[in-house]
Symmetry: C2
Subunit: 455 residues, 2 copies
């Protein structure tokens, strides 16, 4: 029986050739992005110093489907379509009647979903005559992805990595260099933004917000250099929809329809990539899955942040986006899921939560690692710390099914492997990991620093 | 056109259900394994303290095909059939008319081909009522594979890792622990062999020979404990033939027949696993590929060793095997391809080289890493140091094709990823790696220490 398979594969001939744009199907659009000076909606020219015009066009497009260029499809084929797994062994260990499926993005060159957008971003920048891309990276997944993508199109790649991760995860740096990228710990003294932070906090462990400020500063100063963002923006989530489109095809092959979809959220790109095609189906009345974003309790933008206009970076150089935020100078505790340490959230994901089209929940670190270890011992893949949040939520749902006797179909995205995050597992196995809890007054104080913008 | 695909996949329904036993098709059998005391061929009883009878049976079987148990196939399906890739981007970078295919085993839980044999070994031991497996590991690939396999069948797994690697490569230890294995640095004070070494050399950084002694000692002393070996023996190579069987099916799907097959050799299991099914086809006259083993110039057993009876371990505790050897107390330079640092070679592979049924060549370290970096930047996968030897040989062959204009079909096995070996790439990229060359007199001296056995 097809549903009993372990891996549901797609042939390259079945590879999706279009990205899906959720903006085309939303009942109401998300609030506009504002210029920080004029507080007016930004236009293409405001973004032109950082992004090529084709990506800017994708950022604001309301076309339902956008063609994936052939050169991008060619690179995607190095690992796409990615496999969908039925977690038979995890199900058995949980003794649940639920059927758990996971879409595995760890087969990519970087080991995560990030190359899905790195490749088109490098492609469009190369096409626009750009010579170099700059970016930030947290745990290093995004930096690795962009370094790989730049190698494919002959672009230079310069990366600022959050120092906490740079120090914790030295292998990421080497992998980025193996792909030909150049990497700096952030805050660095190579930029104005970095020097300012270091003057005030010489021991700063950094944050994605600070690293973004550094990368953006360098890109803005050089005409041959653009900036690339690995999450948050509409065009990034657009590129990631190949995940959900493939998963839809794969589930259909085994005659399954998801009842619950869970994905981890940092900036929102993995979650959006998985969920948006299913949300399209839900909006069209073809299925009724519960769709749930899972974030770390230590950085709870969706569950404890405020929905307001805020900067995307710490230095306040970016446009203002309406999103769930903990305040742009909030510095999350250095939890091991570096990719989920972002003060804000994709405006599109925030809009969906605010519109109650999707749910959000938060998980403490130890519950996530416990799920990650159980997953490794049953399914054989050591997950990155980020998707252990999704796995913990899938396990919780499967155990609920065990109580209720419901044979729900649970779908999640295993967005990356943890081969370069093993120090985190060592910390967990040796009992030295703690659950970071945030006091209400600390969150209130961080949010109080929001820029004065009309609600 | 099918041949233009990047990935040639097999559905689970096409998974091979039998292992291929080359012994059934050899014109002459390899010389027998001898008891070190009597110098007579060993029998099953000699191996029974360490291995279950079903594995001993496979070691000496001359049946052409052996059924893979259903429980083993179930675990294989977590990653098998593994993908076969056409290296379009590497070919383009080399500007070669050759068509290069690589069978990728890095998709397995351990990140290499090792689980192909770890899983059946754990299965047969569990079936025989064994409670615990012991083994040694150097760089850690084999230990990881066995820890994973033991987790699948509810066996305890206890591993002695050479202390130098234990200290230098902490990620492997963590991965083993994440899979539930117990790992000790070797020499340890848990065994007689370890205590003896530590008494004489308290700061000993260990060796594979010492680690084997410790693992064998514990297995021999406990009725509920057996020992598992990751390469060299016939049953290990037998289990690995799933690699070549799948590759045969995959090449047939795109209408290709290999002209040249290259694989890296340490103990011989990856190479044998890829090559034996193709050798069967060659012996039957259905194809005529050149089949070439590639070893490191720093540990050149096949190309500069002697074909003679020798011990499998440094301490001289094992039966005597006729093989290409550099002498059982030869200590290879600490090259980064830890999996290729073995003084001997699988007796079966040695017999094939001696019979001129396959060729052998050696590659220096820097040429291999240069090929590995080029591979990573074009194909997106960072190879383990071991298969960079095969990649270097494939690149050499492809460049020969560029000279001659021949459009040869080159097949190789990318037996593992290098995610946990990135320190080696760091050393290469920073220019601190050297090519180790061996003086003829050093090799002659090592070989002079061979045990006195009839030639």
């Amino acid at each position: 029986m097809a549903a009993e398979k372990t891996k549901i594969l797609l042939d390259e001939s079945e590879q999706p050739t279009q990205w899906y744009n959720l903006l085309a199907d939303l009942p109401t659009p998300p609030p506009p992005v504002l210029h920080p000076g004029t507080l007016q909606p930004i236009g293409p020219d405001d973004l032109a110093p950082l992004f090529p015009m084709e990506l800017i066009g994708q950022e604001v497009s309301t076309e339902r489907y956008l063609d994936i260029p052939g050169a991008v499809l060619d690179v995607y084929r190095l690992w796409r379509p990615s496999p969908l797994f039925r977690a038979h062994r995890l199900e058995r260990a949980l003794d649940t009647p639920a059927r758990i499926y996971y879409k595995y993005e760890g087969v990519s060159p970087a080991g995560s979903h990030k190359p899905n957008t790195a490749v088109p971003q490098a492609y469009y920048n190369k096409k626009a005559g750009i010579r170099r891309l700059t970016t930030e990276t947290g745990a290093g997944q995004w930096g690795t992805a962009l370094a790989f993508a730049c190698a494919q199109f002959g672009l230079d790649c310069e990366i600022w990595q959050v120092r906490a991760s740079y120090d914790q995860k030295p292998y990421r740096k080497i992998m980025i260099e193996t792909f030909g990228g150049v990497i700096h710990p952030s805050p660095s003294n190579l930029t104005e933004a970095g020097r300012k932070i270091l003057a005030e906090h010489p021991d700063s462990t950094g944050s994605l917000g600070i690293a973004i400020s550094e990368a953006v500063e360098v890109a803005a100063q050089h005409a041959d250099t653009n900036y690339a963002l690995g999450s948050v923006l509409n065009h990034v989530l657009l590129h990631q929809t190949v995940i959900g489109e493939e998963a839809l095809l794969q589930l259909a092959k085994v005659g399954e329809t998801p009842d619950v979809i869970v994905g981890c959220t940092g900036g929102g790109s993995n979650f959006g990539g998985l969920a948006f095609p299913f949300l399209r189906e839900k909006l069209a009345g073809r299925m009724v899955p519960v769709i749930r974003a899972v974030e770390p309790a230590a950085c709870p933008s969706l569950t404890r942040g405020v929905y307001a206009y805020d900067f995307g970076d710490t230095a306040g150089m970016t446009p203002l986006m309406k999103m769930h935020t903990l305040g742009h100078d909030f510095i999350p505790d250095p939890i091991h899921a570096g990719g989920l340490r972002y003060h804000g959230m994709s405006p599109l994901i925030s809009h969906l939560v605010e519109s109650k089209m999707i749910e959000a929940t938060a998980k403490p670190q130890r519950e996530c690692f416990a799920a990650g270890v159980q997953f490794a011992r049953t399914e054989g893949i050591v997950p990155a710390p980020e998707p252990t949040h999704a796995i913990a939520a899938a396990v919780e749902e499967a155990l609920r099914c065990k109580e209720s006797g419901e044979a729900k179909v649970i779908l999640t995205a295993l967005c990356g492997h943890g081969h370069l995050d093993l120090a985190a597992y060592d910390a967990y196995l040796s009992g030295s990991i703690t659950d970071h809890s945030l006091a209400d007054e600390d969150i209130a104080a961080a949010i109080a620093a929001l820029p004065p913008v009309p609600a």
